[in-house]
């Protein structure tokens, strides 16, 4: 049965009526109305739905909303409020990474998580952190450059 859950999303509390097994993705998109987080595959293969749970990247298409109760959910709409998030978004624009843009919410969330944990990532760090995010437009070359740009601009 739907039960009310308290979720903290981008620092704001939301009371939502959602079944326990309902993935966070659909709670964000269809109930809370935060549509920046995208549906791509539903089986954690593409990374379009990536959000942060207590700062760590998760695929929200498989994560039950109940698992997010009591933890901080951050989405693309809120990540710019963090220093790393703002830097990544800026680098993304400076290098014109984006084409259709549909996967980029997830790409940016994965990149911010990488840089938060590893401020100076090398190519293999980038590969490990970003290989779960598919971009059909093929913006990978610029994603790699933009992550390095964002890392370099930290000083």
């Amino acid at each position: 049965m739907p039960e009310q859950k308290q979720l903290t999303i981008n620092g704001q509390k939301h009371a939502v009526d959602a079944p326990d097994d309902m993935p966070l993705l659909w709670v964000l998109r269809d109930i809370v109305g935060l549509t920046g987080t995208k549906f791509g595959c539903g089986i954690a293969q593409c990374g379009a739905c990536t959000v942060h749970l207590d700062g760590r990247p998760v695929r929200s298409c498989l994560l039950p909303a109940s698992a997010a109760v009591g933890r901080a959910v951050t989405t693309i709409e809120g990540i710019g409020a963090t220093a790393v998030g703002a830097r990544v978004q800026k680098a993304w624009l400076e290098l014109e990474v984006v084409q259709c843009g549909y996967c980029q919410s997830g790409q940016i969330m994965s990149a911010v998580a990488l840089l938060s944990a590893t401020p100076r990532p090398d190519d293999s760090d980038i590969n490990a952190a970003m290989a779960g995010n598919i971009c059909r437009c093929g913006t990978y070359v610029r994603i790699r450059e933009a992550i390095k740009r964002a890392a370099g601009s930290e000083a």
Binding site: A18, G42, G101, C135
Partner: protein, 715 residues
């Protein structure tokens, strides 16, 4: 006007739909919004509001290719608007106002947005500017020749007076539009060809952009669908007891060949759909499989085809000469746009509203009107940014299916979102093709070339008037117009439709097939002639100097000819598709186990005048990856009348850890702009295939790459 005629000729060359090129009709004073108030809307593309806002209406859709930015740059250039402050609007559905002059309908495809609209947009901008200048001159009582415009203002330099466009809007709208306004000399461009920020990306990096799938409306319901998994099948019966018990499920809908579950949110709809027990009547296609489809295609390829091009005397030239022969095969492919198919519909008794991202606005309107019996003007299509198009959204099926769901609701809005599995299994697939080639050599060059394409005609279904005398102009694109100097050529096309499998346009369209077969075979012929692949090509590009220049540049930049480790090779491919001259080198290693590792990609492009040079680079970088993905992994197979693949686990995509450095060199050119969005998808597969050929000696003649054939010692 010379510029105009040039671009028209450019349009015709290599353009898939060239034979349906319609006379360009100057759009009338713009749509419904134009007539109200005191805004100035001299044509369908430009609206200047009294408060100074400059709104540019986009006749082509933005699916990542950067065309909104390019169109805005062209309009703003000739209008002398302030590019940093223009506001862009999706066009409403209207062939009358926004038809693509090449297709004669409001469609975005074939990489022809800039080629098709280059001159009309410039004329629209220049005419609007002339009216604004005339209005200012009249107000100041000075000769318009003494006034100029820049960054959204008209300036009278000698007196230092200035008026913003907005302040001139209501005066300008009273003036008759002048004819034949001169266009800028390209040397005076301040926006076109310069580095400019993309218009659409700031919203995309903060999650603010609304794609079709993001539409929210008051009282919105959410639905997901299952169409018959076997093509052409129907619903026999549905047991929906378990589905109805799922919290949040409202309704189960059965409509002939599809079932939908409507709920409070996508999760309820999806759980509901999974809980249904559906019994399908598979219909006539239950036994169709890939093996039978390929048998049919191979048999069809032995028949005589319609002649697409013939010059010299192939039969005579081949007499007594050593004949080289090969056949190349291309698989069915799904599009797999990152944004799965979706459409939101509100169907009322006397009207229908649709929200989606589509490449064919007016076609969605027209087909929905037909389905509902409503007059087209009662069908409103709200277009959105597209989360990828690649040709998939040239079809209106997602709108029609959503309307069929809405027909069983009571007027409430419903967002119909396909699962990824539904998206991959109910696509319009890139046709499977078989190309047979026979050629002879003379003095180290190709002397005679006999080429036959066999495959589905997308054009015959999608734009029937374009299919004439057995020739699909897209299917023979880059085959009938061979860039190499070959004295004797004969090119045929055999239309062969697969049973059951719907076919559609896929990024790179006809040239993907023809450039792959041609460039693969040219490498084999170079080897037979004992020549280096770059030198062999260069010596036959006398009539195509722009391609020769690109080839020479890519050879230099890629380090062509420099030593490489064992089982590592460079492959080259050259093409003229979409009126862009592109040469590409892929460097790849093949492991002992047959695994292909990409090491480096280098590309040189002469696309004529590049409206946005960085977008040209970005489109090639991305397009090359799109093509490499298909070459390495892409294949849709059919079993029991249904598609076997279902999601990214079994329909694989290239990921960042597999992608090497990709360098793109844009050659400066003042030729009219060429097309660019699809070119990389065409370029990469033959270059990769030739790199594998160089690395291993294995002449692959089929895509995707067969790893088993590349295991050391396998051949």
């Amino acid at each position: 006007m010379i510029a105009s005629r040039l671009s028209r000729r450019q349009l015709l060359k290599g353009s898939a739909a060239a034979c349906v090129l319609l006379a360009f009709h100057w759009p009338e004073r713009a749509g419904a919004k134009a007539s109200k108030g005191s805004e100035f809307a001299p044509n369908a593309f430009i609206r200047i509001e009294p408060d100074g806002g400059t709104v540019l209406v986009m006749p082509q859709v933005e699916m990542g290719q950067g065309v909104y930015t390019s169109i805005a740059l062209i309009l703003a250039e000739e209008l002398d608007a302030d590019y940093a402050r223009v506001v862009l609007e999706h066009a409403p559905a209207s062939d009358k106002l926004y038809a693509n002059p090449v297709f004669g309908l409001q469609a975005t495809g074939n990489s022809n947005s800039i080629r098709a609209f280059w001159t009309p947009l410039r004329q629209a901008g220049a005419t609007a500017r002339a009216l604004l200048v005339a209005a200012a001159a009249r107000q100041w009582r000075v000769d318009p020749q003494t006034c100029s415009a820049a960054r959204g203002e008209v300036v009278h330099a000698s007196s230092g007076r200035k008026l913003a466009f907005g302040a001139l809007a209501s005066a300008a709208r009273q003036l008759p539009p002048p004819a034949n306004v001169p266009l800028k000399d390209p040397r005076n461009f301040v926006l076109i060809g310069r580095a400019q920020r993309r218009y659409d990306t700031p919203d995309k990096v903060v999650g603010k952009t609304t794609y079709g799938i993001d539409v929210m409306l008051p009282g919105l319901r959410f639905a997901t669908i299952a169409a018959s998994p076997v093509f052409g099948g129907k619903v026999k019966s549905v047991d929906d007891r378990a589905a109805r018990a799922v919290p949040g499920v409202h309704k189960v809908i059965v409509a002939d060949d599809l079932v939908a579950v409507v709920g409070d949110h996508m999760w309820a709809a999806k759980k509901g759909l999974d809980a249904l027990t559906i019994s399908w009547d598979p219909g006539p296609n239950a036994a169709v499989d890939s093996r039978a489809i390929w048998d049919d295609l191979r048999a069809a390829s032995t028949k005589a085809g319609a002649v697409a091009h013939s010059e010299g005397d192939v039969a005579k030239a081949m007499q007594g000469a050593e004949l080289h022969e090969a056949a190349y095969e291309m698989p069915f492919l799904a599009h797999a746009t990152m944004e799965p198919m979706n459409c939101t519909v509100q169907l009322r008794k006397d009207s229908c509203e649709l929200w989606l991202g589509t490449q064919v606005m007016s076609r969605v309107q027209g087909t929905v009107a037909k389905l509902t019996g409503l007059p087209p003007e009662k069908v409103t299509v709200h277009n959105h940014y597209l989360g990828g198009g690649f040709g998939r959204r040239l079809e209106p099926d997602m709108a029609l299916k959503a309307v069929r769901v809405a027909q069983q609701l009571d007027g409430e809005p419903v967002k119909v979102v396909w699962t990824r599995e539904e998206d991959i299994q109910h696509d319009y697939y890139r046709p499977a093709y078989r190309d047979t080639i026979a050629a002879t050599l003379k003095n180290g060059r190709i002397d005679a070339w006999n080429y036959k394409i066999t495959g589905s005609s997308v054009m015959a279904r999608w734009l029937p008037p374009a299919f004439q005398k057995g020739i699909d102009p897209d299917a023979v694109d880059s085959a009938a117009d061979n860039p190499y100097d070959i004295p004797h050529q004969h090119v045929e096309y055999v239309r062969a439709e697969p049973p059951a499998v719907p076919t559609g346009f896929w990024r790179g369209v006809g040239p993907n097939n023809n450039v792959f077969a041609r460039e693969s075979f040219i490498d084999e012929l170079a080897r037979a002639a004992g020549k280096d692949p770059v030198a062999f090509r260069r010596d036959m590009l006398g009539k195509t100097p722009r391609l020769r220049a690109a080839l020479e540049l890519v050879a230099e930049k890629s380090g062509w000819g420099q030593p490489l480790p064992a089982r590592t090779g460079r492959g080259v491919a050259a093409q003229t598709a979409f009126a862009s001259y592109i040469a590409t080198v892929v460097e790849a290693e093949v492991t002992e186990l047959g695994e292909v590792r990409l090491r480096r990609v280098t590309c040189a492009v002469d696309t004529g005048l590049a409206v946005s040079p960085d977008t040209v680079r970005a489109q090639l970088q991305g397009g090359l990856i799109f093509g490499l993905t298909a070459a390495l992994y892409g294949e849709i197979t059919i079993e029991g009348g249904r598609v076997k693949q279902s999601n990214f686990n079994d329909y694989r995509m290239l990921r960042i850890d597999q992608v090497p450095a990709i360098e793109v060199f844009v050659i400066d050119s003042s030729e009219p702009p060429g097309g660019i969005g699809e070119t990389g998808a065409t370029a990469a597969p033959p270059a990769l295939r030739n790199a594998i050929y160089a690395a291993t000696g294995v002449a692959l003649r089929r895509l995707p790459v067969d790893r088993q054939a590349l295991v050391r010692g396998a051949t």
